[in-house]
Amino acid sequence: MASTWFGASVKRKEDPAFLQGKGRYIDDIHLPGMLHAAFVRSPYAHAKVGRIDKDAALTMPGVHAVLTFADLPEPVRRQTLPLLVPHPALRQPFMPHALVKDEACYVGEPVACVIADSRYLAEDAADRVEVEYQPLPAVNDCRDALGEGAPLAHAGAESNVAARFPLRVGDADRAFSGAAHVFREKIYQHRGGPFFIECRGAIAQYDAAADSYLLHVSSQGSHRLKRCMLEMFDLGDHQVRVVTPDVGGGFGPKGAFYPEYVNIAVASRLTGRPVKWIEDRRENFLTTHQERDQYWDMEIAVEGNAKIIGVRGQLIHETGAYVPWGIVLPWITATTVPGPYVIPNFKLDVVSVFTNKIQTTPVRGAGRPEAVVTMERLMDRVARELKLDRAEVRRRNFIQPGQMPYNVGIIFRDGRPVTYDSGDYPACQAAALAASDYAGFGSRQAEARKAGRHLGIGISNAVEATGLGPYEGATARIATSGKIAVYTGATPQGQSHKTTLAQIAADQLGVDYNDVTVVTADTATISLGMGTFAARTAVNAGSSVHLAAKEVAAKAKKIAAGMMECMEDDLELDGGYVRLKSAPDVRKSFAEIAVRSIGTPGFSMAGGLAPGLEHTSYFTPEQSVYSNGTHVAEVEVDIETGAVRILRFTVAHDCGRVINPLIVDGQVVGGVAHGVGNALFERMVYDENAQPLTTHFGEYLLPLATDVPHVDLVHLETPSPLNPLGVKGAGEGGTIASIAAILSAVENALEPFGVTVAEAPISPQRIVELLGEHALGRTR
């Protein structure tokens, strides 16, 4: 069927409500009799927790309950929160309890939960809960954590090592021994947190008559949270329903299962009333997962002509206090390093390390931006050392389109070999260079230098695994009214699923996309789901919607053919009817067909089609599909203040076939803004006791409208052969390559001073510091 809606920049169905203040986010939901929770949290990064005196709090007006670990029901006390992605490399899979049992391992870990008539009263009472803490030595840096005699992040642990794993391609050591050139770079990278504008939150409602829980939660995947609730409370499938309403941004960490959700469910059962908890911004800084620190020590070996023969090194990755996503984050990082380049020999030893800070899990880009920064810093180094143009060094090393599908030789976190399905990396870079007038930069730079201004340009390339399985599902259903609904476990946080998935279904059903209602993230509507993360929804949910709607269309034709006594092939779908191609006035409406499809009371349907004008599909991709992009940043650095201004930013991006160009542009540009923050501003600072010092937006800086440049976009379209729509993920590419391009540009601007950039973010203070070192003769 021809695409009417797929590929069209149609307006979003989500917008009219959002623009009128009629969205329904978690804190907009008010249930009758609802109580409110506030948490007592550890003020220490590491402490033994002793006696908890809740008497004073309990006597305060409006207070209904104070929960401590001892008050939790047996199945909750027995378990730690579920570790969703176990892995044999995990040596010490530490996970937290719903409330601290006896040892707090990061500042903000919940120790007690206070339930009161209002949040104001709950916070008043939380202040009156007295907790005996016995501070323990805390570890605040993942390198120090590996040192001899370092404090242990968990008392009684064998060490601070959560996991060690190697990646190997070819024989790196032998390749290095014969190399013409070997260059070494030590790179420190820090990414902050997601910092969605809507903090986390949830409402638990226990129904005593049905002995079941309804959890409304601001999440990225209702079904995974349902599974966690079932495990924590030892319940049957029918006893938990999770609904995710509108979500004000997620960026990864809203996909996790957090202890607060368990506590409010316990409290709802205890009080017999719904209980709401809304994270405040300070709690968000303390307790929502982040990405933070990686220390890289890397070497690259090249031939005289800059062809790479090997890359090797070590990555120290901070996991924080616990490992809710196992080794997913460092694994994605490690497997992203080779990128678009032919690297015959590769060896990376990864160690994931505990610290006494909130755990690290994927934030937009999910460890990939760090890998790209590392690889692209190495490429710049090769260019500098061999006095070659940076774009040329990259060009000489690209995987060629003719080599697709290309097996990199390592195993990705989907359990499959990293095999790029399609893409034209040389063309992508060429497009970005052309659009950014890379060739003309030399004269722009020279001109500016005459005026005492320091311009720089930077390039980065990235390949991104997207569309990770195992699946997402969709049910397409035409009701007996003729109205069309699509149900999916995909859980949007701004990605526009209600529009894009409607576009896909509308094409199959021959209707306007406004006639398809997409219902997301309610576990009562579809039995299985994974949720929206890892740039996976277009591929997984999109393909499932396509397949489900296609089946419904076929079924509608079958039923109509019977009703109209004609051949299915003579029929077509249009505007809510199945009609004769040759005589469009001869038709049956979706309503009539749907009524027929459900049968008539008492009459046999035996031997016929399965009842209902509906179909459920779970698209299970064979492996990830790989998007790619080239970013070019042009910056000006003020050598007095260290301020960096981004003058131009160009993205050439290939995410396969595009469902809605307007929406994809928005995803890419928004992703770049996140990268701008990571490259220049965002830093979580902790003191030596792992006490966070940046706990508000006055100290932790997010990029503003004046910091983010206009982004020029070039779309390339190499369809993926691995799904029926030919799509690839688009949600993270903007972030993944942008940090590396900005760092490269800053270094290029500071070239006259011999300054090299080996860290992210690179702040104005740090730039001034580096220039000062140069002035004192302490640079290379």
């Binding site: 307006k11 979003r12 989500e14 917008d15 009219p16 409500a17 959002f18 623009l19 009128q20 203040g21 009629k22 969205g23 329904r24 986010y25 804190d27 907009d28 008010h30 007006p61 104001y120 997601p194 910092f195 969605f196 504008i197 809507e198 903090c199 509108d246 979500v247 004000g248 941004g249 960026f251 405040d280 911004r281 946080q493 701004g494 990605q495 526009s496 307007l662 929406i663 542009d665 928005g666 540009v669 928004g670 992703g671 770049v672 803004a673 996140h674 508000h696 937006f697 006055g698 997010l702 503003l704 409208a705 004046t706 983010v708 206009h710 982004v711 903007g734």
Partner: protein
Amino acid sequence: MADTRNITVTVNGEAHSREVETRLTLADFLRHELNLTGTHVGCEHGVCGACTVLVGGTSARACLMLAVQCEGQEVVTVESLAAGGKLNPLQQAFQDHHGLQCGFCTPGILMTLTEFLREYPDPSEAEVRTALTGNLCRCTGYQAIVAATLDAAKRMRGGA
């Protein structure tokens, strides 16, 4: 015991009288007392701008004001913008340019821009960007918001 006051606040043209705690923020008053949940709370310390409303015609952070400070005042929120359910030119331009993704920061941004476009009916891109520095958006990268604002200004000058 909690200290309370009786206040009357006119919100979107309608007077509301309530007995409120003196510590109740304007944001919580609007959201939880009046059920006007379009005004969002993003940081509670006046940086993100999601809670921006107009008080006496001037933009204000509803998270940094107390409800009692609005006694006798006129407050205007995002709910007032679409008269009769029809998006106003600024709202329509936001939809046309994909100026919102998750939509959470959007009400505050719309209120900031409502005030801004009144004072700067023909702004430059740089002026729009500066006007937006009091609002954080984590989704869009601001580009589509800027485009929408410039287009809205044009439409409004044209009397759309």
